[in-house]
């Protein structure tokens, strides 16, 4: 039972991040490594908002911290979008530069490498389930994000991100701003990652400057798992990252249950990615990934 609850908590905690990663990695096909910075920036911004509002009551504190976490991610999104569209720096380099710039900025704002949030009121603990104080709020946030994500894919912007991923030069022919589409996608993606950054920090009880390390690989692993599992889904769907996340969280709980050391998990993620890509290739389904530069 506890295993199942842990798994659900994990899924809810990372669901907004996976929707964000799905937007940039899968829809836009942009190597948006800046999600690692957005994850930490969201947590730090929310932590600062929590410091300011934790004694003002939950009606103020909860929206403030959630909004701050999103704004933290948005700021990282604005930075990479500016480097990408205004400075015309290629996606990958812009991501790496954003990571570098944000690491310094995050350290400056946080002051130290690690800050505890347990001494302040927990705004996500208003709907505790089982032994997990944040689980109720996590579930609500995840549900809202998934519904909005589902609706977003049918909007003008959602369709544009999808088209950009397959044909980046498309919009130049019809007077639609490619820079706007790219910037909107990156900002939206990083905003959602920022939200997950805070949820994770609140669940762990501390904000860590290195919390985002490995998040890109995590995202890629989940997306490849989801895409492999839902191979029959030909159109973009919010269920692709969700399915990947469910499988990943299940796998993680099983490995932890048999005593696997978490320190080796990054290596295990890489093995999963390599194995799935090789299997897909040899099943001749690789044509589905050909136009998909990242394979996610």
């Amino acid at each position: 039972m506890d295993l199942l609850v842990n798994m659900i908590e994990h899924i809810c905690m990372y669901a907004p991040m996976m929707v964000g990663a799905y937007i940039s990695f899968s829809l836009m096909k942009v190597p948006n490594l800046s999600i690692e910075a957005a994850f930490v920036s969201g947590a730090i911004a929310a932590c600062k908002a929590l410091e300011l509002t934790h004694d003002m009551g939950m009606m103020i504190c909860l929206p403030a911290v959630l909004l701050a976490s999103i704004v933290g991610g948005v700021l990282v999104g604005v930075l990479i979008a500016a480097l990408d569209t205004y400075a015309k720096i290629p996606h990958l380099l812009a991501s790496i530069l954003t990571l570098g710039l944000c690491f310094g900025a995050n350290l400056f704002v946080l002051g130290v490498a690690n800050v505890s949030v347990t001494q302040m009121a927990n705004p996500l603990a208003i709907l505790p389930l089982s032994t997990h104080p944040e689980l109720g709020m996590f579930a609500i946030i995840t549900l809202v994000v998934m519904v909005l994500g589902f609706l977003f894919l049918k909007t003008q912007l959602g369709m544009c991100l999808r088209v950009y991923g397959n044909n980046p030069g498309f919009f130049a022919n019809y007077g639609t701003s490619t820079a706007f589409v790219v910037a909107a996608g990156l900002i939206l993606s990083n905003a959602l990652v920022g939200l997950s950054g805070y949820m994770t920090a609140q669940s762990n009880g501390f904000v860590d400057i290195n919390a985002g390390a490995g998040i890109s690989l995590y995202g890629i692993t989940v997306l490849i798992l989801g895409k492999t599992l839902l191979k029959f889904v030909k159109k973009p769907s919010i269920f692709i990252p969700l399915a990947g996340l469910v499988i990943y969280a299940g796998l993680q709980q099983v490995l932890l249950g048999v005593g696997c050391n978490m320190r080796y998990f990054t290596a295990i993620q890489s093995v999963i990615v390599v194995a799935l890509l090789v299997i897909n290739y040899h099943r001749k389904s690789v044509h589905e990934l050909v136009g998909d530069h990242l394979g996610v």
Binding site: F152, K154, T155, Q156, L157, M159, C160, R162, V163, N166, N167, G169, F170, N173, Y174, G175, T176, S177, F180, V181, A184
Partner: protein
């Protein structure tokens, strides 16, 4: 007519210290007709199309005017909107399509404003009645349509915004005879229905003789380029 196009005294150099590529080039294209331009590779046909759309590079030196109906535009104008009514479909028309989406979805995407919103896709312009003759499945992914049908879609997509002059860069170069004839049939109907000026670069003289109303050749004499009526 409001869609007649006149080019007056167009001069162009790729850079200040380079010789004139065009020197006082003038030409006139009547609306409601298909005008074919011939010329060997490198003779300047595509460069002329680029200038007609106002696409200038940093080093370009250009002077002259284009007249669209009664409206006169300086060809060196940095005001992009001045050239808004002159559209082009490139030779690589597949790069203008979202091939995983349907014909209708592509048309809607081409109708979007500069900044897409969180709303649903806008309605596309009404389709011409004669489109029915071309037997196009509007709901199939575009990648499953024939080359000719995709070319027709690319043309309709640029026409989702107001257009007086349509430039076609080798519209049938990548197509077999049957698809090429289909596209040209469509183009002829379109010009007759919409009354626009259509200028196309073409290497297939036989096809152009069948469908175009006027024929000009870009001739290179020494360094000078001239448009000569065939």
């Amino acid at each position: 007519m409001k869609n007649n196009l006149k080019i007056a005294n167009l001069s162009f150099q790729f850079a200040k210290d380079k010789p004139f590529f065009f020197h006082n080039l003038s030409a006139s294209f009547e609306a409601g007709k298909i005008h074919a331009i011939y010329g060997r590779n490198g003779s300047g046909k595509s460069t002329l199309f680029r200038l007609l759309q106002g696409h200038l590079m940093a080093d370009d030196v250009v002077s002259g005017q284009i007249q669209l109906g009664d409206h006169v535009i300086s060809i060196s104008s940095s005001e992009k909107s001045a050239f808004n009514r002159i559209k082009m479909v490139s030779q690589k028309f597949d790069s203008m399509l979202a091939d995983q989406l349907s014909f209708i979805e592509n048309l809607k995407l081409a109708s979007l404003n500069e900044f897409p919103t969180f709303g649903t896709l806008p309605k596309h312009q009404p389709l011409p009645d004669f489109l029915k003759r071309f037997d196009i499945d509007m709901h199939k992914p575009v990648r499953l349509l024939s080359g000719g049908q995709r070319q027709i879609l690319a043309i309709l997509m640029v026409l989702q915004k107001p257009c007086s002059v349509l430039l076609l860069d080798e519209p049938t170069a990548a197509l077999d005879d049957q698809n090429a004839a289909m596209v040209m049939e469509f183009v002829r109907n379109l010009v007759q229905t919409m009354g626009m000026t259509m200028i196309m670069i073409c290497h297939d003289k036989e096809l152009a003789q069948r469908y175009a109303d006027t024929h000009v050749t870009m001739q290179v004499v020494g360094d000078e380029r001239r448009l000569v009526t065939a």
